[in-house]
Symmetry: C2
């Protein structure tokens, strides 16, 4: 069954957002009476029936909405956007499919091209949320500097955190442990992943001072977006 995104899901006769209506009418060529799944990305889901459809608009009759009141807690990715946005958008899509809870883009010392494409990135999350049939769209925060991430998002401090880096050792910080092993005893966590050139030593020291456990993701050198996806896939 086709899934539509509807940010204001309610019972009764509701119009679809224009882009969803066009997709239903022109691409899928759906007819009145056909069933549709609706999600709002905020925990609500409904199966409705197409009540009317024209070229650019459509209405759906919704009889009953299933609401999940709290976002399931899981993994928050604190991640430096890659230089090329397509790699970061892949990560957003894959992390959504694999169940990430929140994504906080951060600018780091070695970040290049610091452009927060929030709206565009959010569209990727909406599309992936529909595709994989999640009820909750991952929360995407506006990008911020790594140094201010913990002031701006104090909820990070309420759960255990880790920092993945590629250095054999960083002065004044513990040796890295395996992410896979470390996360296996955590129900919720945040994980910081650096840019193409990795975090700097002082960034790792700062994150460790904020409570992060240094981790590695195995023997091979992973690209930023691969590290992010693998970490989400491995988080249980």
């Amino acid at each position: 069954m086709h899934t539509c995104f509807h940010p204001e899901l309610r019972e009764g006769l509701i119009p679809l957002p224009e882009d969803e209506a066009i997709h239903v009418a022109r691409v899928l060529r759906m007819r009145e009476g056909e069933p549709l799944r609706l999600v709002d990305g905020q925990g609500s889901e409904a199966v409705g029936t197409l009540a009317s459809v024209s070229k650019r608009s459509a209405t759906v009759r919704v009889d009953e909405i299933f609401r999940e009141s709290a976002r399931p807690a899981g993994l928050i990715l604190v991640v430096a956007p890659t230089k090329h946005t397509d790699r970061f958008e892949w990560l957003l899509e894959k992390a959504t499919e694999l169940g990430v809870e929140e994504i906080l883009p951060v600018w780091t010392e070695r970040s290049e091209r610091r452009v927060d494409k929030h709206e565009r990135w959010n569209k990727v999350l909406v599309a992936a949320t529909k595709q994989c049939e999640r009820r909750w769209k991952p929360l995407l925060h506006p990008a911020c500097g790594l140094a201010s991430a913990f002031d701006e998002h104090p909820h990070l401090q309420e759960r255990p955190g880790a920092v993945a880096h590629c250095m054999t050792s960083v002065e004044g910080t513990p040796n890295r442990v395996s992410w896979r092993e470390w996360q296996s005893s955590e129900e919720t966590a945040w994980l910081a992943i650096g840019p193409e050139g990795d975090f700097s030593e002082s960034e790792v020291q700062m994150l460790v001072a904020c409570g992060a456990v240094p981790v590695h993701l195995g023997d091979l050198r992973l690209r930023t977006e691969t590290a992010g996806m693998a970490a989400v896939a491995q988080f249980t």
Copy 2:
């Protein structure tokens, strides 16, 4: 240190393949005397010194080669290429970074666009092998029909196998178990992943008859390439 691919690694003074030479000369602007890492994707690795460099050619002095005689056994992905090759190429890149052993592309009942882009796909594997510093390039087999995969590749029968599918039940086959749990007790395995429209019931029945255990990869509906990537990331 920069890594070059060299299919015929030996000791002494060796010329770089042309594309690698151009990259070293024009993109990286490396000079004589600078160190280079060389891999052949067949278990051999060396650190050499750039002995001469011009616009389109370069030679490297190699003093010692480290050879690993056997390919480490792990996971073989038996996977239906996606309709859009960029998604499949992305899976090839990520699976390489995450340590996949072999990739066998298979055509299934619901496969669209059956074009084996073997050479192009192999280039993706070479690039990813260099980037992540693997010693062994994953083995990429020519694409074949799912039905003949086991005749053409009898080594599949020598290790446990699984089939990931999205159906609640398939007549005559056991219920799906969690891939993550199942793989945790296997040192080596193969995993079959279907195309966008999933395997057909009879394909699942055939794979189960060949010894595959039906598995799922969690609650969310994953795209083919996400399923492949997640399965490799989760394989220990």
